[in-house]
Structure formats: structure tokens, C-alpha cells
Amino acid sequence: MPEVLVTTQPTEPSPIEASPRPTWPPLTAYARILLGAILVTAAELLLKRGATASADRAALLGTAALGSYWTWAGIAVHITAMVNWLAVLRRVPLATAFSLVSIQQALVPLAAWGCMGETISPRRWVGITLVLCGIAAVARSYARAEEKL
């Protein structure tokens, strides 16, 4: 892309907020978002196990599920994902970050299909394709906004 020399700084806020201090692990925003999606996917699977284990004591607020170790494992992974998510939010606008992390909606059925041999209905394949196309569109629009700086 061509280098453009500008004498004045643009006044509108940049899509990526400046991040002066490096974060650990040293990952790009995209890699961090993908890591977050994988962590949340794992956490949701653990939570589902915990919720199922305590379904006989169900209430509207799922406090009964706290009696299961699966739920606590899910919470631990969720906390890790949350710290990672805060690092993402420091650099990426919320609307973009949240749209990109929706890749987890495609990851769960794909993981179940690839690792556990579950079948995916045609309707679900269409949904997975739509999610991936949507993510590509959002990522492209974000990359363009980044280029304009």
C-alpha cells in the first residue's frame, strides 16, 4: 500500500487505540480473538456438563450448578478468557472484536464434527458458512479502517 505523508493528524478517533505497553503473550489482535473464542468454547462445554449434572435442582438463576466441579472448571477457563478479552478490548473496537469472536459459534459444531464424529445438518452447514462469511466481511472492513490511518 502507498505511503502517504500527512502534515496534520486526523482528528477522528483511531479504530485501534494506541497500546504503549506490550501485553503477554505477544499475539496479534486476530490471534488473541481466536484464542479467546477457543477458550470460551471449551468453557461453555464444561459449563454444559456442570449444568446437566445438576439439572434436577434447577432454578432460574443457575446457582445449583455451582455444586458441580465441571461448572468450576468452566468458570476458571472463562476467567482466563476474560483476561484475554480485556487485552483484546484495549486494542480493538468493541463492535469489531465481538463480531470476530462470534467465530466460536462455528467452532463448536465444527469441533464436535471433527473430533467426536457428530453430524452437521444441511441447515447448520448453511449457518456456519454465513457466520464465516460475516466474519470475513467484518474483518475486511476493520482492516480497511486500519489502513486509512
Partner: protein, 114 residues
């Protein structure tokens, strides 16, 4: 599918959007000059409080209703999130970005509803 399930699932999405807006608000304050530790702490606490409530309500919904009933409401979340970010954080999304968000929303509803 009762009315209370619809309302609870929708409220769940609103709780998540509110929590995320507060978290982003906190992260914007982290790199602000001059430093605003109070703003960071308050927004972070508010965000985590909303998300904790969202989390407990979400587990409750998963126990009470079938996943294929509750989960399609997740599809609303990206759309509500973009709206929330626009109103409260003045984040702008291009037209192709909006198209992408709509595709994601439709895709999530198809994936989760089947």
C-alpha cells in the same frame, strides 16, 4: 416456548451488551492520559457485575429450557452489541461491516436453532 423464556433470553443479551460496553469503557480509560484509575476501576467493576449476572441467568436458562430454544437468541447479540457500541462508545461500522454483522446474526440463528 413461554413468554417468560423469550423475555429472559432477551434480557440475557441486554445484560451481556451492557457488561461489554462497561468493559470497553474501562479499557479505553486504561490508556487515557492523564491516568484515570477511578474510571477504570468503576467501569471494570460494573462490567464484571453485569457479566456475572448474565452468566448466572444464562446457566439458569440452559437448565430450564432446551438449548435449541434458548441459543438462537445469541444471534441477536452481535447486532445489539454493534448498536450499543455505536450509542455509548461512538464506534462506527462501515456498510460492509454491518452486512457482515447481519450475516453473523443470521448464521448463528441457523446454527443454534437446528
Amino acid at each position: 416456548m413461554t413468554l417468560i423464556a423469550i423475555l429472559a433470553a432477551f434480557a440475557c443479551q441486554l445484560l451481556q451488551v451492557t457488561g461489554q460496553v462497561f468493559l470497553k469503557h474501562a479499557m479505553l480509560a486504561v490508556d487515557a492520559t492523564p491516568h484515570q484509575p477511578r474510571r477504570v476501576a468503576l467501569s471494570l467493576a460494573a462490567g464484571l457485575a453485569f457479566l456475572t449476572f448474565w452468566f448466572l441467568l444464562w446457566i439458569g436458562l440452559m437448565q430450564k429450557w432446551n438449548l435449541s430454544v434458548i441459543y438462537p437468541f445469541e444471534g441477536l447479540c452481535p447486532v445489539l452489541m454493534v448498536l450499543g457500541a455505536r450509542v455509548f462508545l461512538r464506534e462506527k461500522l462501515s456498510t460492509s461491516g454491518w452486512v457482515g454483522v447481519m450475516l453473523i446474526a443470521a448464521g448463528i440463528m441457523l446454527v443454534t436453532g437446528s
